[in-house]
Symmetry: C2
Subunit: 195 residues, 2 copies
DNA sequence: CAGCTGACAGATATTGAAATCTGTCAGCCG
DNA sequence: CGGCTGACAGATTTCAATATCTGTCAGCTG
């Protein structure tokens, strides 16, 4: 807000961009707005990010990475594979549902950003399925699960729960039945994985 | 096109509306266009459908019903439950993917219509899960499947395959990996249902 | 001289006036 | 008399003029 005199860094630009996106929404947030918030000319912003699209993608990546990190703790926990899988899926659903419910406008903003993102979303999804793969590998090793190919199984689990983590289904997460529907899908999946 | 002199019926209006939607798309299709195509005044259309929204919903319902009918044959076929389930899911995916691939504009049109629809889509989904429920009930009866509550299981199966029939995932149906991903999800689900 | 500025060209978005559309209804026609 | 028409009010959409934005770069400044 008040033009700080610290050196202009990519990090500061990303913070200002998040703030501008939060205030103006994805359609009206401009590079000029970001520069104004930082008290610099918009030319300076282009010194750190080649295009507006690159700036938006960097903000998106930061946001996605925060989710990945929160979940990786559960994936790496020291518990039986089935509990970890259930907790991980529940945590993913919960995080998404909370974000969508608490601040719908901000969530809509990031939904637009992820839709226009080039590689950031793909990498994020690859990261999440890698976490799932680790859980299923552990379960296969200790005899809980029987998966010929843990990576394929992880992909199937991820896609079978798409309704509970993909933004395009956000509208349905608020319905009272959502919790029971989620439980039914997870039960079906876990039974499908068991040895 | 050429103003026919047959009596104006709801059916004829629906056909003309489909044609206008196909030509102009959902954003530009107007009631006046439909009336013009039929060679009548737009006031006459309002004699058969109270609002433009009701007219659009009726067209949507017709379109959805055609899908339901095509699938109900498979659901009622005289074969073992697991084959019927696999065929039914494959037929659903195939029908959707073909529609989206063959005429993307028309598919986009109907995606808009279903998104704005009030009850028609809900009824269609209820119809499809009812078909699934019948298959799973049959499988439970003959010992193939073990489902405490076939209706709940059917809902879970339907939602676990959402990625392969919900229009909001249409973009992903064209990717080469889609077929293998579908197979993996169906295998996981079928294993989860088995006794 | 490294980093920032601000003017610029072409692309995109906003605005408000004019055109079109939705939904109604009094009256016409067969 | 039942069904259709066409004019109408208010809402929505279109269109073109205007303003703003993106991305570049020559030159300023500390």
């Amino acid at each position: 807000m008040a033009p700080t005199s610290e050196t202009l860094t990519a990090e500061r630009i990303l913070e200002a961009t998040e703030e501008v996106l939060r205030r103006h929404g994805p359609a009206k947030a401009t590079v000029v707005d970001v520069a104004r918030a930082l008290g610099v000319s918009h030319g300076s912003v282009y010194r750190h990010f080649r295009t507006k699209a690159a700036l938006r993608e960097a903000v998106t990546k930061r946001w996605l990475d925060r989710t990945s990190e929160a979940l990786s703790g559960i994936a790496a926990a020291d518990r039986d594979a089935e509990s970890r899988l259930r907790d991980w899926l529940a945590a993913l659903f919960d995080a998404k549902r909370r974000k969508a419910g608490d601040d719908p406008e901000l969530f809509a903003t990031y939904s637009v950003l992820t839709a226009e993102s080039g590689t950031a979303v793909g990498e994020h999804l690859a990261d999440l399925t890698a976490q799932l793969t680790r859980i299923i590998e552990a379960g296969t090793a200790d005899g809980t699960f029987a998966a010929a190919d843990p990576a394929t199984a992880a992909g199937a689990v991820f896609q079978a729960t798409v309704r509970f983590h993909d933004p395009c289904h956000a509208r349905e997460w608020e319905r009272p039945a959502a919790e029971a529907e989620f439980a039914a899908v997870v039960d079906l999946i876990v039974r499908g994985l068991r040895a």
